[in-house]
Symmetry: C2
Subunit: 139 residues, 2 copies
DNA sequence: TTGCGTGCAAAGGTTTTGCATGGCA
DNA sequence: TGCCATGCAAAACCTTTGCACGCAA
């Protein structure tokens, strides 16, 4: 794993601080921007995007998209998570996003690769459906 | 399956014609717009987006996104119920779309429902990755 | 001092919305 | 005739880029 290079700036530090504090959650550029502003340390939008982009390139963040009309999400990837991959589940009803780490689901990847020659990219894949709460609500 | 409602207009017909002719392929609003213009029957951008949106709502099209900076893709969903039991694999390299029917993959649905309370909608879900040919090409 | 990082503003592209007009039923 | 559909233009939105200045090393 390459380390995040370049200078050590206050902005970069603040951004990393927020991301690591929200490990396992989905963070958007907007949330990050608003949080930093609310904290009294506003950071320019361009800087935020540039930093996020660099972190994705360095493999420290994962970037993915739910829908073209909503903004991109970023998620901090702890080193241990490299092995613990997970899938994203998006509820079409409540719009909530879940992630699932599960051996059975990891088996999908192996199965598809072995039997169908297809290598899934989990970071780009989102499974759509209905979450438990929304299913029960529909009854 | 709800049928596409509303009036039968020339624009709507043209759009459906293009979409059905490209079944199994990814169509963007821009491609559609340019095609219609090239055919001598230009359709306003707003109309295209409104029609596509309505078709997605009616379950006739599927909409999905690869990246937040690129535009959304639409795909015609043949009405056959058979397709509902397929998972869709999209190769990010060659852009090809594959349909996979597989007991193992069907097991995913049951597993997620039983163990995670999440009910997948296969028709809305696309698994992204690399197909066999493109993987071998990259070596 | 050197040159990367930052902020501001403007540009870029896709998608949505408001409103008057046109066309289907 | 009554409404929905359309088209145009403008707005909204997220993201990127250009450029001058600031700050880390």
């Amino acid at each position: 794993m390459k380390q995040s290079g370049g200078y050590k700036t206050k902005q970069k530090e603040k951004i990393m601080q927020y991301l690591t504090a929200h490990e396992g959650q989905h963070v958007t550029a907007q949330e990050l921007s608003r949080h930093l502003e609310a904290e009294g340390t506003p950071v320019g939008t361009a800087t935020i995007y540039r930093q996020l982009d660099a972190l994705v390139t360095d493999g420290i963040l994962r970037k993915y998209t739910i829908d073209s009309r909503s903004c991109a999400c970023y998620e901090y990837l702890p080193l241990s998570a490299e092995c613990k991959r997970h899938f994203h589940l998006k509820c079409m009803e409540c719009e909530q996003l879940f992630h699932v780490t599960c051996e059975h689901l990891d088996g999908i990847e192996a199965h598809l690769l072995e039997h169908h020659g297809f290598q899934i990219d989990q970071s780009k894949t989102v499974l759509y459906g209905l979450c438990k709460a929304c299913r029960e609500k529909q009854k």
